[in-house]
Chain length 356, copies 4
């Protein structure tokens, strides 16, 4: 399984999916500057390998908030996978289990969370939004707990959905039966404001972290953090970890790339909690750079979606295996036999970014 699988999957997805669905998955906000940079920013780093180290065996397993995983590549929460493949999140969950990968399931899944949890046997996290109807939020979280979620991922970068020019009228494009699939059982049939009730509540604050932690008894990670001070604020407010992310370029255009924000967040967090990162990770080198900069793990969004669209469960497995194989190979060429060998001295940056 080689890395070319990822590009092939996307090509296949583009051929198989209706154009507006492909665009929905592929699009970024605004002028798509951040979408573009989410990938290229990883390429601004260069690797400074070690030589003549024993790399006869390269180890990827790690643990994330107590969950043992076979590699530091986590499946990012992405909405509406039923639009990509008939099996939707079920196929994704089986692929996660097959590869021993951690799955972060989106609140906006096209499949009820219990069915997703039942499909796969690997550890999983549940991504939440604090919805306008707080009660709805709590009931969803309770179900996630019952279904075995090991942590909550509170997405903090989406008080409103980012405007994607490629996809005019996103809200209309996603039909209610997709949008509300996880909530349907809690909604009185015919409730007029159902959709609005399920929208992200733009008035929430950092207090939502401890509210969710207490309600669920689970660790809460905040996703969408791009500053060191914000990461610390989240931890101080009760977060058990952060995900450095700009939502794959889908929310605030011209947001700083994750690859640039990561070192600052790692430094500020200073080992208090795991720091994950996502956005544009497409190769073992991207993973290696992220890990060398101090990430505990990386998340991949679209590669999973394209794998799913191109080949269902098998496609997702292929994508995950390709990344794992590529990471193993480049770690060996870098003289690193385990994740512990990945330190910041392994990377250097081209001088494109600088503080003001």
């Amino acid at each position: 399984m080689t890395l070319t699988a990822l590009a092939e999957h996307e090509d296949k997805a583009a051929a198989l999916l209706p154009a507006e669905v492909y665009d929905y998955f592929a699009a970024g906000a605004g002028a798509e500057t951040t979408l573009h940079e989410s990938r290229t920013a990883w390429e601004h780093y260069r690797v400074r390998p070690r030589v003549l180290r024993d790399v006869g065996r390269v180890d990827l397993p790690t643990s994330l908030l107590g969950a043992e995983v076979s590699s530091p590549v986590v499946l990012a929460p992405t909405a509406f996978q039923g639009l990509a493949h008939a099996e939707g999140e079920r196929a994704t969950a089986r692929a996660a289990a097959a590869t021993g990968s951690l799955l972060a399931l989106s609140t906006r899944s096209s499949t009820p969370l219990e069915e997703v949890a039942a499909a796969g046997s690997a550890p999983w996290w549940f991504q939440v939004y604090a919805m306008r109807d707080r009660d709805l939020t709590l009931r969803l979280v309770e179900r996630a707990v019952s279904a075995g979620a090991r942590a909550l991922v509170l997405t903090g970068d989406t008080p409103y959905v980012g405007i994607k020019r490629r996809v005019t009228g996103t809200r209309i494009a996603i039909p209610d039966d997709h949008f509300l699939v996880n909530l349907q059982q809690h909604l009185d049939p015919g409730r007029a404001d159902a959709r609005r009730a399920a929208e992200q509540d733009p008035t929430i604050t950092l207090e939502a972290i401890s509210w969710l932690a207490e309600a669920s008894g689970l660790p809460v990670l905040v996703k969408g953090v791009l500053r060191g001070d914000e990461a610390v604020a989240c931890l101080d407010a009760g977060a058990a970890g952060v995900v450095v992310s700009n939502h794959g370029g889908r929310q605030l255009d011209r947001a700083v790339p994750s690859a640039i924000a990561l070192p600052e967040v790692v430094d500020a967090v200073a080992g208090r909690a795991p720091v994950l990162v996502d956005g544009g990770i497409r190769s073992g080198l991207d993973c290696l750079v992220a890990l060398a900069l101090g990430a505990s793990a990386v998340m991949v969004g679209r590669p999973v979606v394209w794998g799913l669209a191109a080949g269902g469960e098998a496609g997702v497995v292929e994508a995950l295996e390709a990344l794992r194989a590529d990471l193993t190979h480049v770690m060996a060429l870098t003289g690193a036999a385990s994740l512990a060998d990945l330190d910041r001295s392994l990377v250097t940056a081209t001088s494109i970014w600088s503080p003001l």
Copy 2:
């Protein structure tokens, strides 16, 4: 109203206007390096958003030298709007009033200033040049005061009109009845040197600031400032504020972009007076960056001209609403609920510019 309106307006304007008129509005000086950079320099900044802040309501109203405005987006003084639309500055003034925006009216308006002032009810400023005939200058300023101008904007970057290669022979292209419309009443019929008398006087100095302030009793802002020390010199000479501007790239080519000059000016002014900025502002993100860098407000020139050409008053309203809506959206995604939340920590720059 989405941001795409702005580009659509320009396309329409290009289709509707005679080529030489379109070029007159669009052109920059010299090789148009500064014209080009006036836009791209804003894109050199990236945004570092906050997360989980209450942005249920985002407030844009502010006050500028005592004038209450609905948003920090001000209409820059642009000459000869009668060439863009039959209603000219009257339509612009009505749009400013309709949106609660501050209008800065050009000395070179195609409509007598009294008629413009009568058309709109929002607060307005009058842009002046110290003309070769100082007396003419004073009489014009007196009329602006009578018509209700709240401040004067003395444009300091135009001792001579910049040479625009796209528009050979600018002076000839603008007919006298446009050039002299605001001055006609003061000119003896047939005065041979009328046009020259009305030209900018290249011999004026910083003393023109207090001269105008005393003559008018109004606060005087200096427009065209691109250095911290120059801003301080203007304030020391009696200015009530400055506008960081290179005249939209129409005067000195290779002038430093406003986006680069702004932080230096803000630091030097150190809160003594409002600092406005213009040049290439085309989106909520451009506004947000300017405000985060410390601007009190931003001015837009061509977007107003294109809106006017494309749809008269309604077009200008559309342009202003689109910017306001976009600014509101990106402020929310940045975690900022009011202008006071916009501080410099929200932005970081790519390392293209550095001191010598």
Copy 3:
């Protein structure tokens, strides 16, 4: 006379001249990296103008080693102008005189130096190489002194002629009657090694400076200096000034651009002697940047050649007037009324260049 004249001249020259002659004048050494950068490096600077200064009159006259000139734009020594126009250096000298400009005449002129000196009445300098036949060198210098040269310009960057890929076999391309025109009278008819005797001597050292100064009684400037320490070494060895130059990209490819070397040289020279600069100067802004960085004057090479090819004396006058007019205009827009107003605070650089 506007700046577009310069580009028009080059277009005309390209149309009028035989391709190999055009290429000879236009070419640079190696991959032409330095040729290209000799122009673009000036564009890496941006201007920080002053406002509201009295620029009713902008003064360009200055003096260079005692010679009064109407502007700081000097005609660089360029060889074989007879290939560009039948009148060759005579036309150039008349244009220099007509515009009050200083002419630096090349040792490799197509016209005997006495005839050039007689053609124009403006002050002129004579560019020399220390030739393999030192005696020949001295006799040439004596004649320059008799003909009224005010200074010698010893070109230090040409121990061998740079290899220009566009012009294979340069030495063959330039016929002997051009190459030896200034030396013919000193050569025994039929002297077999005439051409070799007249070549630059690659073994000369800094001592050539005082040797020439003593032999001629004239001030000697060294041309081709690109480092501060080298400038100081030249002055310590008796030079009366330096010209920061990489020979218009015709000698060492990948040499640092003059625009980048200039500030370092100015700082090292620290006012002890005039520092001129050339390479890629094509506009008033290029001149302004050079002068603001501390140059006493600028030299232009190809613009003079193209003007000459396109229109003889009148073409050279046009080129010089266009540069002067453009410099006057941009100085006014920068708030500078005289050369003394041009200081380093007027420029800032994009961060492309940095020390190792």
Copy 4:
């Protein structure tokens, strides 16, 4: 012989060789980012020449670990030259001898090392891998010693062969009779794991250095070093020198370019041992920059292969002479008469690279 020979050789090679062979030689690993940058990184440096130095004679001879060579341009070890030309490494060795250049012979030569050694009379080094079968390694090294190798070059950047997308299935493409040519005599006929036994052993460590040094009695250089600390670790482990290299972009993609790593390695080594460098050296200017940054010598890989493919021994001689002539020319224009005149003050960098 001019530099254009190098590009002509590659064009000819592309025309003459089967596409897959051309691709095998030309390819880089991964996205070929490092392959590309291995050349362009040299161009990020600019040269700061001296003037008026005696360069009537420019000297290139030097000595490397006791071997006298006519120039600091060394032939890098490149595998399977029999695929490029029927004469293979024999032709290369004769060319090295003819030009007085040092040859580093690859373990993966298409010609038994004894025959190569016999073909040329110049000093040569032998490049080794510690193979999975250590015994095989020792026997090969013993033969190299007997055949007169002056040093061993232990390649440290190839625990596994880099994945080249242009060449799918590299291992298959190289037939066994090429791969094992140097080992055939030690392999029992029909040994099933022969190829695997001859592969690089990924478990070796820095201790391999002293193991090889002791076994051979020769100085051992480590090739593939890209960090100062790694260079020091190699020397501390017994290395007699290092080669700054990323294997011509064929191993770890996104590895830092040699041109960027070189100064750091030179500084860390601090004169304890020779530092060679390779990757993308294609001109006298590339050589000059490398030497000015502190390299003792440079190695060239593909230029030799293309010369060989294009013209056998004569082609390699042409390539080496072209580089030597070009280096001589640019040294003269830089004011450097010998390698000792090349110091770091001669170069400056554009600010693309910076530490994290």
